[in-house]
């Protein structure tokens, strides 16, 4: 939304071309073959739009912003078209107790059918009094809504792992949703903010296949978080060659060398940022010269200082790698020995001869005979 209250694209029709393009990107993000675009399309066009309850707790609304303010205006429209967003504090028209009534109404009406999207961490210290909405503690709202939800999608690092609020000393005892709700299907889509395409793809997956995508140990969809940033980094060649940025603005920084020594968390962070990138114009943190802070990784993003170097999970890069050219030609030990022996023999013989030659001028045998 811009300051005139107008969300670009939301009021306009999406062309079929843009629509298929978006679905294709989403399918690609999930690693699905092109044939699945049709299935996605069918799911999206289905008249029964699944209801979504979108909860906000301790957060900055950055995740919502990243969804609504993409450079591709059709994106937000698509999201809002395929789901029935029945409760979202940022964009809903209702306010105050009216809004809370809507929430109660919706969770009862769609009990067991709606998807609960959570944004923000949940405080647990002192009984969870540090975040309350309408006099209700966040932890209680969460438990109440989750009980009736079919699945939960935790969006952003805060909802997934506690986010910046959970950093030591963690005054509010902030935790991610998976610490509070343990008995419901839960998908984490971490990031600060997560890539909008990852949110879209996750929602599309659930809608299309009616199941939860394959998850990793931190409950992240493997299609988006299965690979290490370091392994797909366009600057990886500089890492392997030992070319590092030493200071911001130095020669290496201007030439786009590896940011490892600036504290890049790429070697321990799993996400598809290097390949999917952001804002539809191919930018991402490392691409613009900032080290990865590890915002998709628990206990890395916000917990480790930006400048801190992490230990790569493979070997530490050596200062110099061997040249990639293959040595040709031969140089054998026996040859070295033979040449050394020949040289030594020559020098030795010269030495022996020199020692036998007189070193005194007067012992010159020559003289009277020559100048005849």
């Amino acid at each position: 939304m811009n300051r005139f209250g107008y969300v670009p694209g939301l009021s306009e029709e999406i062309t079929r071309r843009d629509f298929i393009k978006l679905l294709t990107i989403a399918a690609a993000t999930m690693g699905l073959p092109v044939g699945f675009v049709k299935k996605l399309e069918a799911a999206v066009k289905s008249p029964t739009r699944p209801p979504v309850i979108w909860l906000h707790f301790q957060e900055c609304t950055g995740c919502t912003e990243s969804l609504l303010r993409t450079s591709n205006p059709a994106f937000a429209k698509l999201i809002l078209d395929i789901i029935s967003l029945d409760y979202h504090e940022t964009i809903m028209a209702a306010a105050g107790s009216q809004a809370e009534e809507v929430l109660q109404h919706m969770i009862n009406k769609h009990a067991g059918k709606f998807i609960c999207v959570v944004e923000g961490s949940i405080p647990t210290k002192d009984g969870g009094i540090y975040c309350q909405i309408g006099g209700k503690k966040a932890v209680d709202i969460m438990k109440e809504v989750a009980q009736k939800a079919s699945a939960i999608v935790a969006i952003g690092n805060c909802a997934s792992f506690g986010g910046v609020q959970s950093v030591e000393p963690n005054p509010t005892g902030a935790v991610g949703v998976m610490e509070v709700i343990k008995d419901k299907p839960l998908i984490n889509v971490p990031g600060c903010p997560p890539n909008p395409y990852n949110i879209l793809s996750t929602l599309l997956y659930v809608l299309t296949f009616k199941k939860i995508p394959e998850l990793d140990e931190y409950r992240r969809p493997k299609f988006a978080y299965g690979r290490r940033i370091h392994d797909h980094c366009p600057r990886r060649a500089h890492f392997d060659a030992g070319r590092f940025v030493e200071h911001y603005g130095d020669k290496g920084h201007r030439l786009g060398w590896c940011l490892y020594k600036m504290g890049c968390k790429g070697p321990v962070t799993y996400a598809n940022c290097p390949t999917t990138q952001f804002n539809d114009v191919g930018v991402w943190p490392i691409g613009i010269g900032h080290p990865c802070i590890g915002c998709t990784q628990p206990k890395v993003g916000f917990h480790l200082p930006v400048k801190l170097k992490v230990k790569p999970q493979e070997v530490v890069p050596p200062e110099q790698f061997p040249p990639i050219t293959v040595k040709e030609g031969k140089a054998t030990i026996a040859g070295v020995a033979a040449v050394s022996a020949a040289l030594g023999a020559a020098a030795g013989a010269a030495g022996v001869i020199a020692s036998r030659l007189p070193d005194k001028e007067e012992r010159n045998h020559e003289g009277k005979t020559k100048e005849s």
């Binding site: 040595k327 020995a337 007189p358």
Partner: protein, 378 residues
């Protein structure tokens, strides 16, 4: 060559322990040569597409012919500068020259990958007249022939041929013998002018022919001095100290001149900083310069009190200096690309040792059969 001094045959048995040692190495190399000529270069050498020229060219041909330039260097002194007093050294210098050049010629044939094509050299329609290498080959072959012609009076003295007719031929041969080494010894440097990017700029220069020619004259005097002292020692003959002292002063002049020329070239072509920045190459450059400088300085310092030992040691160092310079140009400073390596194999080195041993064998036989060394006038 022209008869001006008296010479005599060395008395003694040809077959000695030293002679047998040389024979052993020669026979060993014959076995390896049989392998080389039947199984090819790859069977005995470390030569590759990157380093098609190895120790056989760098040592046997380039250094070997330089060591064979005693006759040439002395001829300049005797015939051009008219220093007739050096003529007693001439015959032995000619003999080593003839041996050195003959062996260099054989080494080229050993080094030829398709040696069975060598007859093409005798067919003028196959000549490439704009090739420096061709010039070197023709010169070396002709000069080898000239050297043996110059040696015919030695044989004539023994066999009693008609010496008057011979002397006319030898006169012409001596004149040609002065021109040819000037041509091909400088051309051995010219060859490397075309390896523009392959030869390190510390050595690559348009002056390569001059560096090669000037250092070969120095090596010629050094080899003549060392050989004179060596034969005096082993055949228990008087040392030619008066001649050698004068010769060593010429060596000092050429030695210092060579170093000055070397630095002038580097300074004028803006390459002087390379003498510190090229790592291993810089080290080899300084080694080379030091080997030229030390004997020049020492011979000059002790010029009034030179002993046979001093002249021998510094002559040998001069020979090493010239050899290192030639190795630097042909192998060490020569880099065909970072992925190529070369170091001579054991068989390759043993063949070289065998060729050198053969030279010594022929020398020993020759001086004990024909009057080559200066006569003792007691």
């Amino acid at each position: 060559m022209i008869q001006e001094s008296k010479y005599e045959v060395v008395r003694g048995k040809v077959i000695t322990r030293t002679f047998l040692m040389f024979t052993f190495f020669f026979l060993l190399s014959l076995i390896l040569l049989a392998v080389r000529f039947t199984k090819g270069l790859g069977a005995v050498t470390n030569l590759s597409d990157g380093y098609p020229w190895g120790i056989w060219i760098a040592y046997d041909v380039v250094v070997g012919s330089a060591l064979g330039c005693g006759g040439y260097a002395l001829a300049i002194l005797i015939y051009i500068l008219n220093k007739r007093e050096f003529s007693p050294l001439m015959r032995s210098a000619l003999l080593t020259s003839a041996l050195g050049y003959t062996m260099a010629g054989f080494a080229v044939i050993i080094d030829l990958g398709r040696y069975w094509n060598v007859y093409g050299f005798a067919l003028p329609n196959r000549w490439n007249l704009s090739s420096v290498l061709f010039e070197v080959a023709v010169c070396i072959m002709t000069y080898t022939l000239i050297l043996w012609i110059e040696l015919t009076p030695v044989i004539a003295e023994k066999t009693g041929w008609n010496r008057k007719k011979l002397e006319k031929i030898v006169m012409v041969a001596a004149v040609i013998g002065l021109i040819l080494p000037t041509m091909h010894q400088s051309s051995l440097g010219s060859i490397q002018i075309i390896s523009l990017k392959k030869l390190n700029p510390l050595w690559h220069s348009g002056f390569l022919p001059l560096f090669f020619l000037s250092s070969v004259i120095l090596m010629g005097y050094a080899v003549a001095s060392a050989e004179s002292l060596l034969s005096s020692l082993y055949f228990k003959r008087p040392f030619e100290m008066n001649l050698l002292k004068k010769l060593s002063i010429y060596m000092v002049y050429i030695g210092f001149g060579w170093i000055i020329l070397r630095f002038i070239e580097l300074i004028f072509w803006g390459k002087i900083s390379l003498v510190f920045t090229q790592g291993f190459y810089s080290f080899m450059f300084w080694l080379e310069v030091a080997l030229f400088f030390i004997p020049s300085y020492m011979l000059w310092k002790y010029r009034s009190q030179l002993s046979p030992r001093k002249i021998f040691v510094f002559s040998i160092i001069y020979l090493f200096a010239g050899a290192i310079y030639r190795f630097n140009v042909y192998l060490i400073g020569w880099n065909p690309g970072s992925n190529w390596v070369y170091f001579p194999s054991m068989s390759e080195t043993l063949i070289t040792i065998g060729i050198v041993s053969f030279e010594f064998m022929i020398y020993l036989i020759f001086v004990k059969t024909f009057p080559v060394l200066p006569a003792k006038e007691v």
